[in-house]
Symmetry: C2
Subunit: 576 residues, 2 copies
């Protein structure tokens, strides 16, 4: 490619609405252009990266036996009604009416459509397994779109859907996709981690997320360096930190703690470790789940621990919950938040203790009276034995659930997700096949997504410096940029530039020559901002010595390379 025939458009400053580095750099490098809230045009430079990401995804999906097709963006509501998602999904699902008033969804994913295709196309077990995928424009009407391509509304996703005869088959298909994802993210040249995840709203029986590691990631990833345990924070099981409960050694004592509503402050006042305190979280369970009655729940966590809301939602009866209002709390506990505890509530509440709390003795908790806490509280003696659940987030140093070491935590950006769906969709949509015995059976489904456009943002969050983006070569808009010094002034420079350009093109290298006639400073700054991984400078001075200057995007300085060796040198760099 010649830059004079391409569209290079860089900015000195990012627009003020760009909050994170990848958004800022993509705007400055002219990769995307904002059209509306969470809606971007992909400019030529950005589209090249998208196409490279798509090509890698496509190759590995095909290699894994998945078959590409293309499902529509605008999808009839009827199918979404069959699975109940038309009603269950909130305003994220963009809905539109046609000229006849018929309802359609603008697809955020395509479970319904593919299941509709498959239930009519697949009749016999002999046609299974099958795995279809497409790479298509998606829309999700986010409440607060932000961070450029990281949380946009319109985006490109690769979504695949496997159909199997039985659960074992589904698990094999799932493993094939898991392995394909590992191959894909390795080829992207990104540091990533696959973590066990909660299935969440999409339903089904097992899932993993694929995260690009980045300090700026929104998600906390939990892993064990001594084993292959890895899960996201929602799914990482927390051990009880106390192996066994010690017997009571202190009397229950109501102690004045005026103005001390946080565990930290109470511990400081009393001269006790924070790990001796217990904090109270009050939740209101959705009436629908409790036979028409609203039910208040008291969840107890150690003072230095944090509630994990996904775990809370798995407590039987808490499937749908919200945090209780202050009015509801005062009514049930007789006091305001800050002094709540399990002893002597004004009305009965359901009490659940985190695993660690259940083994604590002589602990501190609120006395349900403003300005007072209890010390020396003990289960069995002062409070009935509680229901015990895993309620907290793990922390660094917790024992790994597999018993093979301790947990560490790092930040990640979710870019892929694989799900075992089982019959979540095939049952609602009656997607059956005739099994080996000629009996109708429900297909076992899996679904597998990769956020194509989000990869761009995640790759940048992991790979940038103060000059701009540092693309891995496999997804860079160009692998190599040639910067001639005086392309239009020096016949020698032009000739050698054109020669190297032709040699690299012949070798299959994706190379751009900057023939725009810009000053060296502008050229260098542009391509460093854009993040092309390899740069060659062709200048008269070097040519007189028979050499060119090579500089890798992360190199501190340039290296002279003999003119005759440069094409081979570059090929070596790209194969490295």
């Amino acid at each position: 490619m010649r830059a004079s025939r391409f569209f290079v458009s860089t900015l000195k400053e990012a627009p003020s609405d760009a909050e994170i580095v990848s958004h800022k750099l993509m705007m400055r490098a002219g990769m995307i252009k904002r059209l509306g809230s969470g809606i971007y045009s992909y400019m030529p430079m950005g589209l090249r990266v998208i196409r490279k990401v798509e090509a890698i995804v496509r190759e590995e999906m095909n290699r894994a036996g998945a078959i590409e097709m293309l499902m529509p963006v605008v999808q009839p509501a009827e199918l979404w009604q069959e699975t109940g998602r038309w009603d269950k999904m909130g305003p994220e699902l963009m809905r539109v009416k046609d000229r006849h008033g018929r309802d359609y969804a603008i697809q955020p994913t395509s479970e319904e459509v593919i299941t509709d295709v498959v239930r009519t196309e697949i009749k016999s077990y002999r046609q299974l397994p099958v795995n279809f995928y497409h790479i298509q424009t998606k829309f999700r009407d986010e409440r607060r779109p932000r961070f450029g391509l990281m949380r946009g509304r319109e985006f490109t996703m690769k979504d695949a859907y496997s159909f199997d005869r039985d659960v074992e088959g589904m698990q094999r298909s799932y493993q094939l996709m898991y392995d394909a994802y590992v191959a894909i993210f390795n080829r992207f040249g990104l540091q990533f981690r696959a973590v066990a995840a909660d299935n969440g709203a999409i339903g089904g029986s097992g899932s993993h997320e694929f995260h690009v590691i980045a300090d700026t990631g929104e998600d906390a990833l939990v892993y064990c360096s001594g084993s292959d345990f890895a899960a996201n924070m929602e799914a990482a099981e927390a051990p009880g930190l106390l192996a066994q409960r010690q017997p009571p050694s202190q009397p229950l004592t109501k102690t004045p703690t005026p103005g001390k509503t946080r565990c930290e402050d109470v511990a400081e006042l009393l001269g006790l470790p924070l790990s001796q305190t217990v904090k109270s979280v009050v939740l209101m369970a959705d009436a629908a789940e409790e036979g028409g009655e609203k039910q208040l729940w008291l969840l107890l966590l150690r003072g230095d621990h944090e509630l994990n809301e996904v775990k809370a939602s798995k407590v039987p009866g808490l499937g749908q919950f919200r945090f209780a209002s202050e009015t509801e709390i005062v009514e049930a506990f007789g006091t305001t938040p800050g002094y709540l505890g399990p002893i002597g509530t004004a009305r009965p509440v359901k009490i659940v203790a985190d695993r660690t709390v259940a083994n604590m003795n002589d602990f501190v908790c609120g006395a349900n009276e403003a300005g007072f806490h209890y010390t020396g509280a003990n289960w069995g003696r002062d409070i009935p034995e509680p229901v015990v659940c895993d309620l907290r987030n793990v922390v660094e140093g917790d024992a790994s659930p597999d018993g093979k070491g301790v947990l560490a935590i790092q930040r990640g950006i979710e870019v892929g997700h694989v799900f075992q769906l089982g019959t979540r969709y095939s049952a609602d949509m009656k997607a059956t096949f005739l099994d080996v015995n000629g009996k109708p059976a429900l297909m076992q489904m899996g679904c597998y997504g990769i956020g194509i456009t989000r990869i761009l943002g995640a790759a940048i969050e992991q790979n940038f410096d103060d000059k701009g983006i540092v693309w891995p070569a496999s997804i860079a808009p160009f692998e190599v940029v040639l910067c001639p010094m005086g392309y239009d002034r020096s016949a020698m420079v032009k000739e050698e530039t054109d020669r190297l350009y032709a040699a690299l093109q012949a070798a299959g290298v994706d190379v751009i020559v900057d023939d725009r006639g810009e000053r060296p400073g502008v050229m260098f700054a542009d391509w460093e901002l854009i993040g092309v991984p390899h740069r060659v400078v062709i200048g008269e001075r070097g040519l007189k010595d028979g050499s060119l200057e090579y500089q890798g995007r992360r190199d501190a300085a340039a290296t002279p390379v003999a003119l005759a060796d440069m094409a081979e040198f570059i090929r070596g760099k790209l194969q490295a």
Copy 2:
């Protein structure tokens, strides 16, 4: 590709809603699957064709200097309001509200978005010309979607937009695109014709349509075999068929013609040629165009000619018209349709005569009295001289407007359209640049569309037989199919099939081997229906003689080809 790892799904019968051959064959060959009215999933077999069409389009667009980007499907209404198209476009424009109640269009084209991009990105004449294109999902809420991909609602289109400093530049950009389109349609291997067209609703100053020639085409194309004149029916100028008016030779005579309301019947009754009769078409002009007054118009055509509505709409004052209602006609003419004419109307009407009619003498026309016509009617003597316009469709044998021969007519399917837009959009959206004198000037625009998915339907309408589709090799889902007789039974067949498969793959041939284990009859029927252009049968009998059977999709019989020569033979066929 191995068929066992692909998805082959053929049908014996097309669904009953498939009216035309391309729709039927695409459904039967498993290329598309209906999701809703005018909305289709592209199945793996169909997607392969789409991708090949896209690749050819992309290559030729790039070669012509256009730059690929990708604009969003969901576009803010504000931009569409700037050009007035938000209001002007009817229900074909699919509109959607987001969770905050803001309006968006689901793009049918992207003039507004690209003009918005360019007005902020392009500041100087030095950045012009530039031509951006994208290949993206479009939606047009057709009143009556039908014919499969030919008149769908969701479809894929390549749309390009050029921006120039001045009209001459725009015309150069237009010619580049015109030439690129010729290259593209040649590479598709389709018979096509570019015809001059009316700009219509999109506005601007010149355009050509690209049509795939097919007897089943919806459009009539007019061309001159003696020159390069070609236009669609709307744009083809019709000559006056009479060079000069002869003087009156008959008296004006009111003649009884009871029950004869059609020119054909009147001519027969009176024993006169149809070309001696004149028919009346009554139009009502939109009140808005005529200063608040509704205005009735009488258009006169020779009895054997047809009204061209686009030409009628170009008569000054008739920009917006509809056919008059019977009530309006009776009120103005004093009688019902069938006996209307220019002589003695009950109220004054505006009269326009087609060029041919204006030179007729002694003609027959309605007498504005039920059951009566005039014979011997003459301009000047019986009726004031009329306004004269080109109002009719041309017919085969008409003189070409360039004076170089006579016109012929053939049917076509519109698959591409190039427009000179001038400042139609840049003026509304204030898309200016600083010209060589540092003064702001409006950009001169062109736009260029190709209906990617429609190409599939058009290619089939031109290339099919009673067995199925006959794809040109350049856009066939596979170039070659290998049909082994007993792949799983005969080691020799398997070995030679795999060897040929590998040899063809190594030669860059897009080949599929049918390893599904189907019977020969099923295999042959499937691939003939799907339309793969080259077939090789590998059987034990032939192998014993060292030969395989080759059959081109249009060949009546197979040709034996030596085993060792087959790969080269196929390559020769593909290069032919």
